[in-house]
Amino acid sequence: MSAQQGAGGSLYEKEAKVYPRDVKGTFASLRKLAMVVLLGLYYIVPWINWAGHQSVLFDLPARKFYILGLTFWPQDFIFLTLMLIIAGLSLFFVTAVWGRLWCGYACPQTVWTEAFLWLERLVEGDRNKRMKLDASPWNRNKILRKTTKQVLWISFALWTGFTFVGFFTPIRELGHSIFTFQLGPWETFWFLFYSFATYGNAGILREQVCKYMCPYARFQSAMFDKDTLVIAYDESRGEPRGGRRKSIIPSEQGLGDCISCTLCVQVCPTGIDIREGLQIECIACAACIDVCDQVMDKMSYEKGLISYTTEHRISGQETHLLRPRIFVYAFLLLALTAGVLWSVNQRVLLRADLLRDRNALYRELPDNMIENVYTLKMINMDFKQHQYRIEVVDNDDMVLFISPDPTLEPEEVGNFILRMQAPASAGHGSVKVDVRFSTMEEPIIERTVSTRFLMPYE
């Protein structure tokens, strides 16, 4: 036995299971709307085709990413990096202005937990019924309800896992492979892994992910300031709290507006008491606002005892929406987004790489000619077939020979042998050469690549 255990046991204890009560109201409706839209997009988008391809498909074996009619190649990796930076900056911006809006409404953990909770309520009932069911001994009713819930959860998780793999393997082929038991080993692994992760995170771990596992929750304080939107309890108005009849006048009884019904705690998906002040565990889902407003309504008190507010407003000061950090985030976000859109729009749908033959620097041919040999790798990034014209820019001495014929099908990668010849009198040593590649068809797509032509030094 360790000294710690000997001195009174472990410092940690298991947390009690949270049974969030269902809540109705403006923010609950917004949360449900966000859930339907986001999950709808997730499950439907891979089934929609765009420009002859699945609308979003990360085709790893072919090393091509199809995103809404655009094709991204490995050479376009910079765009993916920039898009991730834009996503990160958007999160900074939204957090600085609206606080944990992402956590409460759009985070996959929140959205899937909401969906799993909805299934749980459907089978086991609301909070009190679920608590009673868990506390009751195993009987026919309990076995039936628990089994039904698990079947629904597992089916939903498997569908989620299937859709996830469907972003990497064409989803129609994937569906066919599953029903004909021809799923490959890696697809099977990711299908089951993502299903398990969904089931574990949304069904079992739930609020523990937000409280203990999510790094964003820990880092967000760096983006918060006293003008950031938070959910807070108006202590000056609510305290001292206490039960009462509706007919009394609270101030005459020495009471504030909080009637200590504890419903704000019961609806909280992370099981905290918002009246204790701002807490890292609060995911800003606003369930406590909805339920408290209902109670205030029932008691004929003014709504807003718990509300979206800012630290400045709580302390009686003015809230500033426009502040330096908002300008900085907004400027960076706009500049990067504009830059990426412009670059994607200006992208040349042709790539050409010239690699020198490493076996020989140059060859001396009869007729006093020098030859360099290159491997040419060309990628036709367009959706149309193209035949290419290849020429040396501003150098009449150079002659090019290419084999085979430089024609590429849509999205084809081709390897060619390019031989470049020049008279020995054209120069000495390493000569810079610009080679232009252009399509024969209109509109012309062209790219110029620089390389070195090696000649004898003497």
Binding site: L11, Y12, N128, Y212, R245, I259, V265, G271, I280
Partner: protein, 119 residues
Amino acid sequence: MNTEHPVNRRWNMRQRDWAVVFWISFLSAAAGAFVLFGLLNPLDMINGWADEFDIGVRLAYGLAFTFLYLVCLLASALTMFMIRTGPSSGHVKGEGRHSIPEIHDPSESNPDLDGEDWK
């Protein structure tokens, strides 16, 4: 007992945390590099760049190890940060811990809420 002599302090908790992060990341990166290069030849993977940079095999090993070490450092440091900055309520027993929120039937002390659907 003579207590006048200054005591040589050992490292504090934060220093020990960082020492663990650096050392465990080093071991993990070394094991990772060992397995990786047991299976793959780094020169096969960097063939495309060879023309421009002419990376030798030792430099390739060194770069790959450095990359692995940085990834392991990032993961370890983030893990340390997550564990050391966890919420104080509802987790650790003792001082600084919020009590478990009290929950009861809303109508218990508010008779006018009786009959509502939140019992």
